[in-house]
């Protein structure tokens, strides 16, 4: 009989294996199974412990609300903004019910407030995922020769195929003409306008309807309003479109650029006690399911900064970033 003074892991396994060996019904296979089990646990104890903190039932409960909605409206941060505002000028096109009178020049507009995201389906089945601060104007009934919408902000379009009725997205500076395709367009003022093609074909038209460029999948066109020039790039499309899955990839961007994005999503105003903070560069992923204060905490922690949030009644909250003393 072994001395049972110590109860450490190896001892215990050895004991059980020993017992198995001496057991009439035990065999070599069983001993191997036990050793394998013991070593699996020993080598992955931390991971097993971590896993034990999670429960699929609880995780399912957290997930469920995101699934039950018919359109996948993602509420980023309840506290900051109202529900999506959709202004119908006239028309009840949603139920595909309208009289001849209502189809005459009737438009709908969807404005996504800062700090929200939304997605809608247009009358032709085209799906549009709209990012924070975006605006889309579309008719109750599309023109028979073309489907036209007006847009500003950032959105991901999944356009239904119809070469006889090309889909046109009018931005402030240019228009995008598509036939069945997937693309992402970012057109906020003060930023170069960019369109990324995921799948299909698009033509970029200038304001006079002349073709500026044709895009192939994985290409991006970037238009600089000041220089009045456009450039074509090959890009990793997922990088530009993952925002609709609630993430933003940030690549070597200045703190100021990131702050501007945060200001848009979370409807806050960010100020700095020290101008040099603006120019700090960061790379990372911002996960948008997190509340604002968690995000700003991570960002400032990385860069040895401090932050202070001042809640303001009728204005966006003020966030002050300063150097860690």
């Amino acid at each position: 009989m072994k001395n049972e003074k110590s109860d450490i892991w190896a001892d215990m396994v050895e004991k059980i294996v020993d017992e198995e060996k001496h057991d009439e019904t035990g065999n070599q296979e069983d001993a191997t199974g036990l050793n394998e089990l013991a070593s699996l646990i020993k080598n992955n104890r931390g991971t097993i412990k971590m896993l034990h903190r999670h429960s699929e039932s609880k995780a399912w409960q957290t997930l469920q609300p995101s699934l039950r909605k018919d359109t996948n409206i993602l509420y980023l941060f309840m506290k900051y903004a109202a529900i999506i505002v959709v202004t119908f000028i006239t028309g009840m096109y949603i139920n595909n019910y309208y009289s001849a009178k209502e189809t005459d020049g009737q438009f709908s507009q969807i404005d996504v407030p800062v700090g929200q995201m939304s997605s809608i389906t247009l009358p032709d089945g085209t799906k549009v995922n709209l990012n924070s601060g975006s605006s889309l104007r579309y008719p109750a009934v599309f023109d028979k020769n073309k489907r036209e919408v007006h847009f500003s902000g950032e959105a991901y379009f999944l356009v239904t195929e119809n070469s006889k009725q090309p889909f046109l997205v009018h931005l402030d500076d240019y228009s995008i003409k598509v036939t069945g395709t997937e693309f992402n367009v970012q057109s906020y003022s003060h930023l170069p306008v960019q369109t990324v093609l995921v799948e299909g074909k698009v033509s970029i038209l200038d304001k006079q309807g002349e073709e500026l460029a044709k895009l192939n999948p994985s290409q991006m066109i970037q238009y600089s309003i000041e220089e009045k020039k456009y450039r074509l790039f090959n890009v990793d499309t997922e990088f530009y479109t993952l925002w609709k899955e609630g993430k933003l990839y940030v690549r070597n961007e200045t703190f100021e650029e990131i702050a501007q994005k945060l200001e848009r999503w979370y409807n806050v105003e960010i100020k700095y006690t020290d101008e040099s903070i603006k120019n700090k560069r960061l790379t990372g992923t911002i996960l948008k399911y997190k509340p604002f204060d968690q995000i700003i905490k991570i960002l400032t922690l990385k860069e040895t900064l401090e932050y202070e949030i001042k809640i303001r009644a009728d204005k966006p909250d003020l966030v002050i970033i300063s150097q860690k003393s």
Partner: protein
């Protein structure tokens, strides 16, 4: 119609949640990020549900998607971590093996199925790392009981292989 799809999805989700979490954790090494990525992947799957089949080959697709999300996440962190840790972007048909993760997931499920007292003891000793005496003291039972229960646990658990 929605209720039956969501039921199927729920079943699929619960069946593969922990495995997905393990796979994500293997790449990102951060519990919270792994959790977020897994939720994102499942939401994404749900949105694509009309073009997917929830039986058959969905599991490898799921794990691949988790891996891809992780790689994307990691590649934006590359300024902060050493390059060796970044997995190669998958361009070939070569499938990553998640054998260890599968085993741990099975183990975890098997632990959940242990009789309550046995499970409690097993977790204290194997996972928390308490010695027999310490576990016995904490639960107000004898050291022998702990030892016996550990033996039972082991015998029940080794069937996962």
């Amino acid at each position: 119609m929605l209720s039956s799809s969501i039921n199927k999805f729920e079943k699929f989700y619960k069946q593969h949640y922990k495995l997905s979490l393990l796979v994500a954790f293997r790449f990102v090494r951060d519990e919270a990020i792994a959790e977020d990525i897994v939720q994102d992947v499942f939401i994404s799957l749900w949105q694509k549900r009309d073009s997917l089949d929830f039986t058959g080959k969905l599991k490898p697709y799921l794990l691949k998607s988790v891996k891809n999300h992780c790689i994307n996440y990691i590649s934006t962190q590359k300024e902060n971590i050493s390059l060796e840790i970044i997995p190669e972007k998958e361009s070939t048909a070569e499938e990553t093996s998640f054998e260890t993760e599968e085993k741990i997931a099975r183990l975890s499920q098997a632990i959940e199925k242990l009789p309550p007292k046995c499970k409690e003891i097993f977790l204290l000793v194997s996972i928390e790392g308490l010695k027999y005496q310490e576990a016995a003291g904490k639960l107000g039972i004898s050291k022998n009981t702990v030892k016996t229960q550990m033996g039972i646990a082991f015998k029940l658990l080794r069937n996962i292989f």
